[in-house]
Amino acid sequence: MPQFSFLNEIETVSKAGISSCYQCCRCTNGCPVAQDMDIVPHRLIRYIIDGEREKALSSGTIWTCLNCATCSVRCPNGIDVARVFETLRVLSVEAHLATAMDTRLFDEIFIENISKHGRLYEMEAVMRYRLHKKEFFGDADMGLAMMRKGRIGLTPHNIRDRKKLGKVMREMAGKVKI
């Protein structure tokens, strides 16, 4: 007997009608990165219905997803699959089950950066990410090419209201430290 509590939890948070999935595979067929996923989208949806909480929350898929929402607009039952994966990401971090953390790391650095400046100071965010990963020369060639063409912002764009915005963002982030 599946544990419907997990399904209910995800349906409540994501407001997506996951239980109407009849495994037609349209989400998987349209997904541009399905080949890089450990569990393809329609199967992951099925795991939620089956109450496989740990499998769903520890899947690499939710971090491979680029949120392009091809799946969401193609689902014949109107399930916002990309939104479901977003929900799984948040819950997987809360449950300490998250794998493939590069995306998460960059997202946290990104949001922290916004809370500090109000706008993305891309160079600082990318540098912090690289330092964290100890990848010092990863994109040197690409970075130089962009710099030569004037396509990297060298200085931060601080907004006037940044202190207040930062405070509000930290409150909203709750347990997530930004």
């Binding site: 090419a145 004037g150 396509r151």
Partner: protein
């Protein structure tokens, strides 16, 4: 003279500042003035929803509140800014709980979610119109075989009505034809370019953006045209990501306007993939314009 509120977003102030320049130049040619939102902040892009919904809604609400104060329609050229703002506005308008939560957070700013948000294609079609666009094009762009690339999120504003056909948008193709260019038929108009994965998973962007470039070339295009700064940058970076992919120049739609109206683009040197071949192929005014 029409005035629109303008939400540039982070890219148009940094990596794609030449897009802002081009957009302002073209819109002012048609009598549209852009009034930049005072002290706007980042939309949160795809990072905010990974943290949680609250932070996503509040980031959206702050800009929406600033825009609603102006009482004008808002144009957001970046697809992420556009989609995030439009989706947040519709959620804030429809869901009382969200509306109350964000208003507590952004006080003394106030937002209702009733804001009208437009992308660049909508601005051209709604405020200028196909007839005026056709009439104003003086240089012959018959040699520009353009693959109109819309990118993934432009039409996928889940929860809010799409601005064009979700699977086969046509707005940009219509505009390109009005300008005298020759848009090609192809199937990768809304494929994802890899977005922010360029930083965390370079191989993925290489494969996705590389494929889009190859497919545009296979469809007979000699240029790719887009309105999204992240799509433009990722595609423009493909020679650095995937050496064997097709190297077509990647223009912003407003740069095609520059070509049709003035016969040249001002900031061609900002492009990573050279645009010279296309520039040289443009006819002079007085040539037979389609």
């Amino acid at each position: 003279m029409t005035t629109l509120s303008y939400y540039p977003g982070c890219s148009l102030k940094t990596s794609s500042s030449f897009y802002e320049h081009s957009l302002r130049k073209i819109l002012s040619f048609y009598g549209i003035e852009l009034k930049e939102l005072d002290d706007w902040s980042c939309c949160g892009a795809s990072a905010a929803p990974t943290i949680n919904d609250k932070i996503t809604d509040v980031l959206g609400a702050r800009n929406i509140a600033i825009a609603e104060r102006e009482g004008l329609h808002l144009v957001a050229p970046c697809s992420a800014c556009y989609a995030r703002t439009k989706v947040a506005a519709s959620r804030i308008q429809q869901d009382r709980e969200t509306r109350e939560m964000v208003n507590r957070a952004i006080s003394p700013l106030v937002c209702t979610g009733s804001l009208e948000v437009r992308n660049v294609i909508e601005v051209f079609l709604e405020y200028i119109g196909t007839e005026r666009i056709s009439d104003s094009a003086v240089y012959d762009l018959g040699t520009v075989r353009a693959a109109a690339y819309y990118g993934c999120v432009l039409t996928r504003t889940t929860g809010a009505p799409p601005s064009d056909d979700i699977e086969d948008p046509v707005g940009m193709d219509i505009i390109l034809r009005c300008l005298g260019a020759d848009p090609v038929a192809w199937q990768h108009k809304t494929e994802c370019c890899g977005a922010g994965a360029t930083i965390t998973n370079k191989k993925m962007t290489a494969s996705l953006s590389g494929h889009i470039m190859d497919m545009a070339a296979a469809a007979g295009a000699n240029a790719v045209v887009t309105t999204c700064p992240l799509c433009q940058l990722n595609l423009d970076l493909t020679p650095h990501l995937k050496k064997d992919s097709a190297k077509l120049p990647v223009f912003f739609l407003t740069e095609i306007f520059e070509l049709a109206l003035f016969g040249a683009i001002e900031w061609g040197k900002r492009h990573l993939i050279p645009v010279d071949d296309i520039l040289k192929s443009i006819g002079t005014p007085g040539d037979d314009v389609a």
